[in-house]
C-alpha cells in the first residue's frame, strides 16, 4: 500500500551527462532515424530520452525515492509519464544536475477498481548555473482491488 509518509521525500542529487552514443542507441531502439539524433556534435535527445536517468541514478545511493512509496507490485502500475523541456531539448555534451521528489499523492474513487491512489514523482534537471532545463513527471497508480494488468513497467 502506498506510504503517504513518502510525500515530499527527495532523492539524493545525481548528475546526468547527455551523450552522443546513448542518444543514438536510444533513437535506434525507438525506431527514429531523424538526423538530429545523429549529429556528430550536439545531437538532440529523443522526447522520452530522460528515462535513461535509470543509469545515472544507479551510481548514487538513494537517488530514486520511488521505492519509499512502497507501491504494491501487483496492484501498482505506471499510468502516465510526462517530459517538459524548458527551452530547447537537451543536446549531447550537456551535463545536467538532477533530483527527484515525491511531489503529490491523491486518491480517487472508481467503480471498477475501488480506491485509486495516485503518486507523482518529479525529477528536475538543471544546468551548472542552476537554470531549470527539464522535468520528468512519473504518475503511478495503485488500485485497492487486483486490476487487469495494463502496464508492467
Amino acid at each position: 500500500m502506498v506510504a503517504k509518509a513518502s510525500l515530499g521525500v527527495e532523492g539524493a542529487p545525481f548528475e546526468m551527462d547527455i551523450e552522443r552514443g546513448k542518444i543514438a542507441e536510444f533513437a535506434r531502439a525507438v525506431r527514429s532515424s531523424h538526423p538530429a539524433h545523429l549529429l556528430r556534435d550536439g545531437a538532440v535527445v529523443p522526447p522520452t530520452f530522460l528515462t535513461t536517468q535509470f543509469f545515472w541514478e544507479a551510481r548514487v545511493d538513494d537517488a530514486n525515492p520511488w521505492s519509499q512509496v512502497k507501491m504494491n507490485q501487483e496492484r501498482g502500475m505506471h499510468a502516465e509519464q510526462e517530459y517538459v523541456f524548458h527551452g530547447p531539448p537537451p543536446r549531447a555534451g550537456e551535463r545536467l544536475f538532477a533530483q527527484s521528489k515525491i511531489a503529490e499523492i491523491w486518491e480517487k474513487e472508481s467503480r471498477s477498481a475501488g480506491t485509486l491512489t495516485f503518486v507523482k514523482m518529479v525529477t528536475e534537471y538543471r544546468d551548472a548555473d542552476g537554470k531549470l532545463r527539464a522535468e520528468a513527471i512519473l504518475t503511478g497508480v495503485e488500485t485497492s482491488k487486483p486490476p487487469e494488468r495494463k502496464e508492467g513497467a
Binding site: 546513448k22 542507441e25 536510444f26 535506434r28 531502439a29 525507438v30 525506431r31 527514429s32 531523424h34 538530429a36 539524433h37 538532440v44 535527445v45 529523443p46 522526447p47 522520452t48 528515462t51 535513461t52 536517468q53 535509470f54 543509469f55 544507479a58 502500475m77 505506471h78 499510468a79 502516465e80 509519464q81 510526462e82 517530459y83 517538459v84 523541456f85 530547447p88 531539448p89 494488468r149 495494463k150 502496464e151 508492467g152 513497467a153
Partner: protein, 137 residues
Amino acid sequence: MSFDKAIAGQEPGPLVIGPFTRTDIVRYQGASGDMNPVHHDEVFAKKSGFPAPLGVGMFTAGCMTTWATDWLGPEHVQRTRIRFKKPVFPGVTVSFAGKVIARDESARTVEVELWGTDDAGDAVVQGWMTFDFSAGA
C-alpha cells in the same frame, strides 16, 4: 518550414511497427536502463501471470513520439505527455499516428495528439506533444 507543415495540418500517414520481437524489447531495455525482468525473463513473466514477456510501455510510447518527431523535428519538442493503455506482447503490430489539435500562430507552437493502435484495434498508448517553433526553422 516545419511550423508551416504543422499549421497546414497535413499529418503524415501512420508509422506501423511490428510484429514486435523479444529482441526489440531487450534493445529498448538496454537503451533505457529499465531492467525489469517481466520484460525479458520468460519464466518470470509466466510466473507473474503473463503469456509471454510483457512489452515496455515506455518503448511503445517512444515509438509513438518517433512518429511525431520524424514529421516535426525533435529539436522543437517542448512537452510530451503519455498515457499507458494496454500492454503490447511480442508478435503484436502497432500503428502509430496523430493529428494537430491546436495551433498558436503568435507563439508559433503546435499541439499534437498521438495514439498507438494494435492489430486488435485497441488503443495501447495515447499522447500529447507540444512543438515550439518560436526559435525559427
